[in-house]
Subunit: 342 residues, 2 copies
DNA sequence: AAATCGGATGACAACGTTGTCAATTATCAA
DNA sequence: TTGATAATTGACAACGTTGTCATCCGATTT
């Protein structure tokens, strides 16, 4: 019942070593043989046994470590990583990390995982990927990984990093608001341990400066990437004397919270207040009104990060050096942002 | 750098087979030997190579197969399964299934996964877990699995099944509406290939009957477990002559869609229309108004299903036979449902 | 036509583990 | 003490794959 390389060999009438060659795309197999083997593989629906490969030292397992309460984000990343892993016949071990507050505990968790599951390399996402202490410990321990981070300039370890230009995307969103005649734009920040929050804030500030609008400290509020944070902070800004006409929420959850607060205060969106988010979460098109936001192709990003990792693991030095590792989230204009006429 | 069983054997001065015995806790090893081996293991920090074990057929890997677009559902399940798997030192292979429309393709996918990754058993969730064709094929192929299904009576394969009493929960929710004086209650159904939709519909009907309210066919609408379905169907019902005063949406997504449609039509919720959902998705408390719904402890359910599977794999016949495999979703009353005074 | 070469193919070992069975040692009864 | 039996230990094969090297065959060179 279990199809092995030898079954394929028998059906194709060749030695199992030849099948191995075909499967691994090695050179020096006559096309006639190759074809025979291919059809036998398809006929039997043969898939190489990963354990045997691993044992032989060829293939391996990738670990996906994450600590992110946003399930949509995690699932999208997961699927991107899985796609790349499967394509390259890697297995995936998934590991949600609990103690994100203490970097050294996170590191211990990772270490124990790599030991236990024989993980060859890791794919890291924010906020773990952006924690310098964890990164240093991983490097010291000689653990191979690729990572996804938020950043506007190429990091010094480009070859293992995908960076997302949140700053530029935030600039564009802010510009979008400015061009719609908004002058008092409030910024609701996300978690401080995520670089994305700082980057998005910088993009916001840069846009204001370029359009000669003063950056007002009272319009920039700390917070977290949660709905609750959005509600709370949005309530606060509505009490400000000269109320803002637009809100730049650091992600869609915050934006949804702000929308909620606006409704509670009988503030019309977008007529009296424009609200924009960031992330293009599925629910961003289901809010009322639907959210203007910025879309990150997270599955592609995750696949790319995984390919990067696999390249490192297999020692293809050249495989990727000319690739662009930067992604720019794309602005999506929906109904929550409008012209400010008054 | 890699420590194998033979290194341990050499240091302890025994054959590597004896080390294997100690590692696996087999009987028939003198305590003196056992101790020598133990200290050698600790000294070298030896960990068995999982690939070799799996290759030899001693797999400690379980597979989580799913096909469900609801990322929150999947993540919660995943975490529940992971917790139980880790507790019993099993590895987990995650496999999102693409071709759900064709059961035999799904089966092929599963089969190839179990082969390739030497998966010892599976945890299945709806809708795959509820597809008789897939279940039969798995049984025929001798694949071990546990599953989570929707059902009001104990299925005939209880020992490997967790069932969720959607019917009773739906009854309670409907009763909740009836007691608030609603007589014309609309039912927006979910995907037909999920048993949960049928079960919830039955619960709804049973409650109506028990309270002597006629079941009106024009108030029961087919659909899917999506926001869009909710919007569309809710629009339809608002055109009905004698408009319903309440909507029972088969899940929170549909309910959110209905909420959306109500708002588009300037229908006040809950003053003019009560809307209830099902699932207690995170966003159900973030809608406006927040949704009355029913909460399933999905992480616990998933853990339980995993424990069940592991019990089967390890042949602990008695481990679980007195457990209750049934879960009743708990009604959570929020703001989207209210008395009908008119 | 014989010798040589190179490309294609196959035989076999190895990876680290567990299962099977044989060999050895300890234990017990007669 | 001796033989029989039980307990312990070890030798070796096997799992499915890849790497190494030998073999084969056809083509090219002399």
């Amino acid at each position: 019942m279990k199809v092995t390389i030898k079954d394929v060999a028998e059906l194709a009438g060749v030695s199992f070593k030849t099948v191995s060659r075909v499967v691994n795309g090695e050179v020096g197999v006559k096309s006639e043989m190759r074809e025979k083997v291919q059809t036998a593989i398809e006929k039997l629906n043969y898939h190489p046994n990963l354990s045997a490969r691993r044992l032989r030292g060829k293939s391996a397992t990738i670990g996906f470590i994450y600590n992110n309460p946003n399930s949509n984000y995690v699932i999208t990343m997961l699927h991107g990583i899985l796609a790349a892993a499967r394509k390259n016949s890697y297995e995936l071990v998934v590991h949600p990390c609990e103690n994100v507050s203490d970097p050294s505990l996170v590191f211990d968790e990772i270490l124990s995982l790599t030991r236990r599951s024989m993980v060859a390399g890791l794919v890291l996402t924010p906020p773990i990927s952006e924690n310098p202490e964890i990164i240093k410990k991983l490097d010291d321990a000689g653990i191979t990984f690729s990572r996804i981070v938020s950043g506007s300039v190429a990091p010094d370890d480009v070859q293992r990093t995908i960076f997302i230009d949140d700053r530029k995307a935030a600039y564009q969103i802010t510009e979008h608001l400015i061009k719609r005649n908004h002058k008092r734009i409030c910024f609701l920040n996300g978690d401080p341990e995520h670089l994305s929050s700082g980057e998005r804030l910088e993009g916001y500030k840069a846009a204001l400066r370029d359009y000669d609008i003063a950056v007002a400290d009272e319009l920039i509020l700390d917070g977290h990437y949660t709905f609750e944070s959005g509600v709370e902070r949005a309530k606060q800004i509505m009490d400000i004397d000269e109320a803002p006409t637009a809100v730049f929420a650091c992600n869609d959850e915050i934006a949804a919270g702000a929308l909620f607060a606006a409704r509670m205060n009988d503030v019309q969106v977008p007529e009296q207040l424009s609200i924009v988010g960031f992330e293009d979460s599925p629910f961003s098109r289901q809010t009322w009104p639907s959210l203007t936001t910025a879309k990150q192709p997270n599955d592609k990003i995750a696949s790319h990060a995984t390919e990067l990792l696999i390249g490192m693991l297999e020692g293809d030095d050249d495989s990727d050096s000319y690739d662009d590792h930067s992604y720019l989230p794309e602005m999506i204009v929906r109904e929550s942002s409008a012209d400010m006429t008054s």
